[in-house]
């Protein structure tokens, strides 16, 4: 084992220490000992000692493995090759111990025994192995029912919130949708053929526990259309302090229904006379605030589905974007055909027009939202914008004159009436 005086200082303190954890492995594995050696060197030099890899992978796949080499191979031969394997996680990251132990057995045999549970995209990340271990490791994984995740300009492993498995607010089956869509796009997941990465995250409600709006090109967020269900006696129990705000997740014992709920409702669509809580549901914008505060008194409605938002990515290149509402409501029932078709159509438009390494959200900025909406056959709706444009530089197409001639107009309840 290498001396690691700097890393050793991260062994103390109340939060679990990765240094302590990895040292156990280092004691039995030279490769992992060298990993700690390289890391210690980075702590000293304040610089990374990893190089970009060449192309490595398993037969037939263009993604799932990320080549990685140290720039100090002579000193740390154990990590001369130290490739990453992304293993596609199960929906909502649920496991049996049997399955997890099998994964550990495979990774102990074929790699560094170091992993991320989980990577930011959602995959199980097996951190570090040699090129010759890749095929055998892959064979063992598939034999146990596991496959690789996406990387590069491919469809990335979708992820979802815990949804109906353990959350009362799920507006659709996020786990099944995640599984189905992962299966549907297997080819594109393993063979990068898009202009750039293409991500999908599925949250069951506007609380968005997987950060779909910020972290996935395609963000599916559950929403209801009808009325919030109210149990007035439970509202009374919150008002009286028998039930705790947010189910007990705060330091406060008692809810002031007027101040905490009604006055903080962003649309001011609630009222409370000390006995009855009323909601003008047509004006509710589904923010979840009141439901979050009183989970036993309020429940989302029963006419359920999801909104489809598109375009988010991290800052590079054009600055960070969040996804934009494209389809404000659609039904999310198995086999999720509408979503599959929508994502396929979007990918086609993007593949046709996108430059290399241009995320779909950036292409929309370059070509205009109209270009996308027309290509995928989605009509304009006021839910798609926060606010209309402030400039008079808008374009007219022949199709607009045609629509005008047909007397087409927008109705806020029914959408476009022809």
């Amino acid at each position: 084992m290498h001396k690691t005086p700097l890393l050793d200082q991260l062994e103390s303190g109340p939060w679990p220490s990765f240094v302590k954890d990895l040292k156990r492995v280092a004691a039995r594995k030279p490769q992992t000992a060298d990993l700690l050696g390289v890391l210690e060197r980075s702590y000293k030099d304040k610089i990374t000692h990893w190089k970009h890899g060449g192309i490595v992978g398993v037969l037939g796949y263009g993604s799932g493995i990320i080549g990685r080499y140290t720039d100090l191979p002579d000193e740390f031969p154990g990590v001369e090759h130290f490739h990453t394997i992304r293993v596609n996680h199960p929906s909502a990251w649920m496991y049996t111990t049997k399955a997890l132990r099998e994964l550990c057995d495979i990774w102990d045999e074929h790699g560094s025994s170091v992993l991320n549970m989980h990577g930011s995209t959602g995959d199980i990340i097996f951190l570090g192995t040699r090129t010759e271990e890749l095929e055998p490791c892959f064979a063992k994984l598939t034999a146990k029912g596991w496959d690789l995740g996406g990387s590069g300009s491919a469809f990335r492993s979708p992820s979802c919130c815990v949804g109906p498995a353990r959350c009362e607010w799920a507006m659709y089956d996020t786990l099944e949708a995640c599984y189905e869509l992962t299966q549907e796009f297997q080819f594109d997941l393993h063979r990068p053929s898009y202009p750039y990465k293409y991500k999908l995250k599925l949250s069951g409600c506007p609380n968005d526990c997987v950060a779909a709006v910020a972290r996935a090109d395609c963000s599916v967020i559950g929403v209801w259309k009808d009325d919030i269900r109210i149990d007035q006696s439970a509202v009374q129990a919150y008002a009286g302090g028998e039930l705790k705000p947010r189910g007990g997740a705060t330091k406060w014992d008692k809810l002031d229904i007027q101040k905490d709920v009604v006055e903080l409702c962003p649309t001011q669509c609630m009222s409370w006379d000390g006995k009855t809580l009323k909601i003008n549901n047509r004006e509710c914008n589904h923010c979840m605030h009141c439901i979050n505060l009183m989970p036993q008194a309020l429940r989302p409605g029963t006419e359920r589905g999801a909104a489809f938002l598109l375009g988010s990515h991290a800052p590079i290149l054009e600055g960070a974007q969040m996804s934009w509402v494209i389809v404000p409501f659609f039904e999310m029932e198995k086999p999720f055909d509408y979503l599959k078709e929508l994502m396929t159509n979007i990918a086609e438009w993007w593949s046709e027009h996108g430059k290399n390494r241009e995320r779909v959200g950036e292409l929309i900025l370059r070509l205009g939202m109209r270009s996308l909406l027309e290509a995928i056959g989605v009509e304009p709706a006021p839910q798609q914008v926060r606010i209309p444009r402030a400039n008079p530089f808008f374009f007219w197409h022949q199709s607009d004159f045609d629509a005008e001639a047909k007397g087409r107009r927008y109705d806020t309840r029914q959408g476009f009436v022809r």
């Binding site: 990765f18 970009h52 800052p315």
Partner: protein, 359 residues
């Protein structure tokens, strides 16, 4: 010779086989939940069944030994099932609350903390850093450990005005998508690439290298015989994209790289819409192994928020209410040229056009 059977494109296992029996029986039937104490959730089903989930912090960067230990606990308490959350916590499932004290004792013996629910600081979503990536300006797991050690008191309590979600990305690529976090820690380089001309021509494809630069700072070298490139340093914003394409353009500097802190982002829709995190501190020195300046800066922002925010206010909602000029004042953060956006089309959106400011 027989062809070995090679399976491909099977996708992940179906989650159905991994569901805890109580979850399976009550799938889609959950009625409400309570957090009976920090880190312990009770979900109640329409069938009357109850499930207790015990949330436990983890470092994300773990060993198979660690996973096996978690499995042992799950076998003992959780009928052989458990899950990870979207923020790298673990959750064990109890059907009988009387098992909680024993589970707690076993967790305490391992030094695994319970918490991360509700109005707490939960685990920090983060990236790879020096343990595995080629472009980081800072480490990831080490800073996370140092910050969580310092903020540990907030993990197992519901003491804050609202939940506080912290994330870390070790470079501008922001693998962790930190750009919508209450507090975001972001590694930044501050030097343009140094071009290794004699290596470049062998290692790099010049057109892709030029195309990789988001600000168009890279040009072919005027001396064609060199088969290299030049960088307009004034335009470079040190993103490292070129280095990613071309290893002959390293842009790291041990002393100049460092930490930026952005604050006020969120993803949930509760009350206010999802929001980006905004620049609070443009640079803090990169100071391993415990990054004391970064840890102190985050504690300061967090304590000022805890003192100043109204009930239910997220960090960004608090700052919006008091105004950014007041935020910089109460947190003692100098306002610099770097705070004024000058990157492409998003910039003008951030300049003030009203008389609604304070002194």
């Amino acid at each position: 010779m027989t062809e070995p059977e090679r399976k491909t494109d099977i996708g992940p296992p179906h989650y159905g086989q991994f569901l805890h029996p109580v979850i399976k029986a009550n799938y889609g039937k959950w009625k409400y939940h309570e957090i009976i104490e920090p880190g312990v959730l009770m979900h109640v089903s329409e069938t009357g069944d109850k499930l207790y989930s015990v949330r436990v912090g983890s470092g994300r960067l773990v060993s198979t030994d660690f996973v096996r230990e978690a499995c042992d606990l799950a076998d003992k308490y959780s009928q052989g099932h458990f899950r990870f959350t979207s923020r790298h916590n673990m959750e064990f499932f109890l059907t009988d609350l009387s098992q909680l004290p024993a589970l707690k004792a076993d967790l305490a013996a391992k030094g695994w903390p319970i918490g991360g629910t509700g109005h707490s600081v939960t685990s920090i979503v983060h990236t790879q850093g020096w343990v595995h990536c080629h472009t980081p300006a800072i480490d990831a797991s080490g800073i996370v450990k140092a910050v969580m050690d310092d903020l540990f008191e907030y993990f197992g309590k519901h003491d804050l005005p609202a939940q506080v979600r912290i994330a870390l990305a070790c470079c501008l690529n922001m693998c962790g998508a930190v750009h919508c976090s209450d507090i975001a820690i972001c590694g930044v380089h501050r030097t343009p690439p140094k071009i290794l001309h004699d290596k470049l021509r062998h290692l790099c494809e010049i057109p892709t290298t030029i195309a990789s630069c988001p600000t168009g700072a890279i040009r072919p070298h005027p001396d064609k015989s060199l088969k290299s490139v030049i960088v307009n340093e004034e335009r470079c914003m040190y993103c490292g994209n070129c280095y990613t394409m071309c290893p002959a353009m390293p842009c790291f500097d041990a002393e100049k790289g460092g930490v930026a802190i952005l604050v006020g982002g969120k993803v949930s829709n509760s009350k206010t819409p999802p929001a980006f995190s905004r620049l609070a501190i443009p640079w803090i020195p990169n100071n391993p192994p415990r990054w004391p300046e970064t840890v102190a800066a985050i504690r300061k922002i967090l304590t000022k928020y805890a003192e100043g925010a109204n009930k239910w206010e997220r960090v960004g909602e608090w700052i919006e209410r008091i105004g950014w000029e007041r935020f910089f004042e109460v947190c003692d953060i100098p306002f610099t040229f770097q705070h004024i956006d000058d990157y492409k089309f998003q910039a003008y959106d951030t300049y003030r056009t009203s008389m609604h400011f304070k002194f």
